[in-house]
């Protein structure tokens, strides 16, 4: 596979955390390739290092060892400001808890518009098509607290997709949703991937895994 086919790549990344009882290795020399336009899933049991790996790819953390590349560039050596820019312009990030992805003080459209503005794209152009594509046309001006968990997570997905990021990084996007809502989110992710959006999801939800193009399995911080 050509390097240009990869939107993200991890090479031998290791991440350790200090705890009162000593050092814990969350990731141990893990490699990961995320193919452009593919729906890639990182699966594994709780504590296997999925979220840690996604955090490294999403510029939310730095590895102790190894390289993390986005579009072929090593993001581990970038400064805070540049990494912030990478997050803003290149990545769409979805967190497990729906409410953690949205600003309470704004409505659904406001949240999407806010992210669009942050990315420097045309907010008016983004809001309705993105929310509409996720079946949220009727929820445009509803406050976040008035939305169901599934709706909130789809709005979060809309926020992540606003401005067409290079890579969508979703950490356990269905973890706190019921089956029906989870189904909505999975369909939305699949649709995005089918539209050419690169998607990287960490999950142990079998339905998400089933919808993926590629699955990477982690256990105790190692790839299996």
């Amino acid at each position: 596979m050509e390097p240009s086919d990869l939107v993200a790549r991890c090479v031998g990344v290791t991440r350790r955390f200090s705890t009162p009882t000593g050092s814990v290795t969350a990731l141990d020399a893990v490699d990961l390739d995320v193919v452009r336009g593919a729906f890639t899933v990182v699966s594994g049991p709780s504590g296997s290092g999925k979220s840690t790996l996604l955090g490294l790819v999403a510029c939310l953390d730095r590895p102790d060892e190894g390289r993390v590349e986005l579009n072929g560039a090593d993001i581990g050596i970038l400064g805070r400001r540049q990494r912030r820019r990478v997050r803003r312009e290149t990545l769409g990030i979805v967190l497990p808890q729906p409410s953690d992805n949205l600003l309470d003080r704004l409505d659904a459209a406001g949240n999407v518009a806010w992210v669009s503005r942050l990315r420097g794209t045309d907010a008016a152009h983004d809001v309705e098509p993105v929310l509409g594509s996720l079946g949220l046309s009727s929820a445009l001006h509803r406050q976040v607290r008035e939305l169901s968990g599934g709706e909130q997570q789809r709005v979060a997905l809309a926020c992540a997709l606003a401005g067409a990021p290079v890579l969508l990084v979703c950490d356990e996007p269905t973890a706190s949703l019921d089956r029906a809502s989870a189904g909505d989110v999975i369909r939305a992710l699949r649709t995005a991937a089918d539209a050419g959006q690169s998607v990287l999801v960490a999950t142990h939800d079998a339905d998400v895994i089933a919808a993926a193009d590629a699955v990477i399995h982690l256990d105790h911080g190692r790839r299996t």
Partner: protein
């Protein structure tokens, strides 16, 4: 947030208001202490309409003044019909409103009738209603044709009838109405009475060529601020100029020199400026520390806000928004509490200074500056809190691993280093002090020593104490469960526990230090004043007297004369051993503990007399009286650091007066020293025949009253800072209790089922809260006293005077600190227990509280 901004508001606004209040109180004290005539506007008065109009215009220029008082007077000579050749001086006077100064009011005088002081009746020469005075002016002069001054013919005497007397006007002090005429009322330096002041009406006085009129406008002292005093001075100058211009005075400069300097208001206001300078300099470290602590609290508040709004800030950071992206929302939500808090702080500062400061009067300028400071402080607070919150929020994600372990760098050593530098500086320049009307010494670094010395152990002990507390996690294994729980909770968060202990210590230290400095400074001034005066009262007299019975057990007569020892000047103090120890303060002075025994050893033994010396002189020497050059061989029987009556750096030799007189060391200047004098002590001396040469010197009058007040005002600010830190510690504890609330509630829901009831919870809370506070306060009291020991001598405002200052610990302040600690422990325990138990178990278990 609002509370921390209010703290900042109090700090930035309180400082200038307090300093201004001290200056204004200085003006008030001076006005209460001085003669208002001395600071009044004086202009020449004449009955001509254009003069009266000019005076009216001048009066209109003035503000905050009383009604004018016009005084007509003339100095002349008089003779009585029985003794026409004996001419005596008198002062004829008519001071507007003088009749009303007496009870009963004096009668209205007809032309050419006079009232004389009633003390003259004792001479038997005057009979009211029949004594006729022939009053004559001194001859006037004119420039003759040869250009020389030549006398005009003697003016004809004017006959005046003495129609009565008025009660003699007391002197030293004179009544406020007469204080401007003290020169005419007081005996001269030899104790001789002055020419009589005789009352007549204006027409009677006006017939004399040399009659003069004085137009006097006194300030209205009530509520007069320093600004008002300066304004009074400016308006006085303007009034004098306007009067001179209106009357066409040719030499304006000379006119100004004659009339403008009469007012001491400028000097008074300058002195108030000096006091404010002194208070400002002394307070500067406290103000700086107050602002620093407020900013620290603000930063801590920012971190807490960031924690509270963590979800939103983290989301902004995840989406790639920097601190700038989160700021608009933060500014919107925090503008009201920060600016509002600063304004509340301003209000508290105004209220605090008005109620607890030197005076409730407020100057407009500092008030305006305080408002501006509070607004700027509020904006700075908003910027700081927003920035800290935004930065803390930004650190929620992608926190770069620390390449440099900053936490291992001992930044805290900066504090002891600064303390050492301040110590050195304080030794060099001394504490801030009043020299004349100027504040000298005590720059910011020097004045910071007490605070830095207090902060040093706090800074040094943070790490070791934290490490120690960390090792105490398993403390109290054998204790019952309630105190064990309290103990372990107290040490559960080592940094927090260490901070509470040390911050409490700092607060208690500030309070104890401020009161110790204050009480010591007060004692120091009394000690120095007593040494300077000799006793509580010192009265110079012309001749020796038989001590009146009312003073016999507490007064002594000492003689002073200058002498030499090996050609070096010394001050000789000749004392009467029999009465000396009863008339001076010595019992509380360790240096003078053996005074009675020492004094008994004075006197001649063989051919050499024993002397006590202060200063550098040989063991045996010939004491030479400077006036007559006669010498007396003496041996030193004791060397002391100070002795009653020691006034300057010149060595002092204390000798038995009988020996000194026998050796002809005099003539001596004679002084009576009185310990614990009755109010009429000076009168008793007069009655005993003493001719008093000058004003009696009292301990309380030796040093300018404002000097000590300024020291008091300065150190009070340190105490206020202690209260401020204590409040911050208290708030910190409350916030910590709130932060631990949910965990406590969850634990309590389970523990309650296991029989851990409210009473045990109270015991646990009491142990948890009291241990760090009590340990901290005890340590702080110790620190406060220790730092005071190191500071008092160096901060001595009168180093040049003996004895050196001593540390006097104010037990009352320690008791107050102890009571405050008990109250704080009780409140915090109550809060801990209530916040833990006031929750629904189901909600607690669901985590929805």
């Amino acid at each position: 947030m609002a509370a921390s901004c209010a703290l900042l508001g109090v700090c930035v606004a309180g400082g200038p208001l307090y300093v201004s209040s001290a200056a204004t109180e200085s003006v008030q004290l001076q006005l209460a202490d001085i003669c208002l005539s001395d600071v009044a506007v004086h202009l020449p008065y004449g009955p001509d309409p254009f003069v009266v109009a000019a005076l009216d215009h001048a009066y209109a220029t003035l503000r905050q003044v009383q009604d004018p008082i016009v005084t007509a007077s003339v100095t002349a000579t008089y003779s009585l019909a029985e003794t026409p050749k004996v001419r005596r001086k008198l002062v004829l006077i008519n001071r507007q409103g003088q009749a009303e100064q007496f009870d009963p009011t004096l009668p209205t005088l007809a032309d050419n009738t006079v009232l004389m002081p009633d003390y003259l009746l004792t001479t038997g020469e005057y009979t009211p209603g029949s004594t006729e005075l022939m009053i004559q002016e001194p001859p006037a002069f004119q420039i003759g044709s040869d250009g020389q001054m030549e006398p005009l013919p003697d003016p004809a005497p004017v006959s005046m009838l003495m129609v009565g007397t008025y009660p003699t006007i007391p002197v030293r002090p004179e009544p406020a109405f007469w204080c401007g005429w003290r020169k005419e009322l007081r005996p001269n330096s030899r104790g001789d009475l002055p020419p009589p002041v005789v009352f007549a009406n204006v027409a009677t006085i006006s017939q004399f060529n040399f009659a003069s009129g004085d137009w006097e406008v006194q300030p209205a002292p009530d509520g007069m601020t320093r600004d008002d005093a300066h304004a009074f001075q400016r308006r006085q100058d303007a009034a004098v100029d306007q009067f001179a211009t209106e009357l066409g005075v040719p030499d304006l400069v000379a006119f100004r020199q004659q009339f403008a300097p009469l007012s001491g208001m400028g000097i008074l206001a300058d002195r108030a400026d000096t006091v404010s300078d002194l208070v400002g300099k002394t307070m500067a470290p406290v103000r700086l520390a107050g602002v620093a602590v407020s900013l620290l609290v603000l930063c801590a508040s920012g971190v807490m806000v960031a924690r509270e709004r963590r979800r939103e800030l983290r989301l902004i950071a995840i989406r790639g928004g920097g601190p700038a992206a989160s700021m608009p929302a933060l500014v919107r939500s925090m503008a009201l509490p920060t600016i509002g808090g600063a304004i509340v702080g301003l209000g508290l500062a105004v209220l605090g200074v008005r109620t607890l400061g030197p005076t409730p009067e407020m100057e407009t300028g500092p008030l305006r500056f305080a408002v501006l400071s509070a607004v700027v402080g509020g904006l700075v607070a908003l910027a700081v809190v927003t920035a800290v919150t935004a930065l803390a929020g930004d650190r929620e994600v992608d926190a770069r691993p620390r390449r440099i372990a900053w936490r291992h760098v001992p930044f805290e050593l900066i504090v002891p280093a600064l303390a050492v530098a301040a110590w050195v500086r304080l030794d060099q320049v001394g504490g801030v002090r009043l020299v004349g009307t100027k504040a000298r010494g005590g720059d910011l670094m020097a004045q910071s020593f007490p605070l830095l010395a207090l902060a040093t152990p706090v800074a040094i002990l943070v790490r070791p104490l934290r490490a120690l507390v960390r090792r105490m996690r398993h403390l109290g294994r054998r204790l019952p469960d309630a105190p064990r729980l309290g103990l372990r909770r107290a040490v559960a968060e080592p940094l927090m526990a260490a901070m509470v202990v040390l911050a409490s210590a700092f607060a208690a230290g500030c309070l104890v230090l401020s009161t110790t400095l204050l009480v010591s400074a007060e004692q120091q001034l009394v000690d120095k004043a007593t040494t300077f005066v000799g006793s509580d009262l010192s009265v110079r007299i012309i001749d020796d007297i038989e001590m009146p019975a009312g003073l016999a057990d507490r007064a002594t007569i000492v003689g002073r004369v200058t002498g030499t020892v090996d050609g070096m000047p010394v001050s000789i103090l000749a004392i009467d051993p029999a009465t000396f120890t009863g008339a001076v303060h010595w019992k509380a002075d360790p240096e003078l503990a053996d005074l009675p025994a020492l004094v008994e050893r004075l006197g001649a033994s063989g051919d050499r007399a024993g002397v006590i010396v202060v200063g550098d002189v040989p063991e045996s020497f010939d004491l030479v009286g400077r006036t007559r050059g006669v010498s007396v061989p003496v041996d030193v029987i004791a060397r002391l650091d100070h002795f009653p009556g020691f006034t300057n750096g010149t060595p002092m030799v204390v000798i038995d007066r009988s020996v000194a007189e026998a050796g002809d060391l005099g003539p001596f200047g004679t002084t009576v020293w009185v310990r614990d004098p009755p109010a009429d002590a000076v009168q008793l001396l007069r009655d005993a025949g003493a001719r008093i040469t000058n004003e009696a010197l009292r301990v309380e009058d030796v040093f300018d009253v404002t000097s000590f007040r300024a020291v008091r005002w300065s150190y009070s600010a340190l105490g206020a800072f202690g209260v401020f830190v204590a409040f911050v510690v208290f708030m910190m504890q409350i916030l910590a209790i709130d932060a631990r609330r949910q965990r406590r509630q969850a634990a309590h829901v389970l523990m309650r089922r296991m029989g851990f009831g409210r009473r045990r919870l109270i015991v646990a809370g009491l142990v948890e809260v009291s241990i760090p506070l009590i340990l901290g306060v005890a340590f702080g009291v110790l620190m406060g006293v220790t730092v005071a020991e190191a500071s008092v001598r160096r901060l001595d405002t009168l180093r040049q005077l003996r004895p050196p200052s001593v540390v006097v610990v104010d037990v009352g302040s320690i008791v107050a600190v102890a009571i405050g600690t008990v109250v704080a422990v009780a409140l915090l325990t109550l809060l801990t227990v209530v916040s833990t138990t006031r929750a629904e178990p189901l909600e607690v278990m669901r985590g929805t509280v």
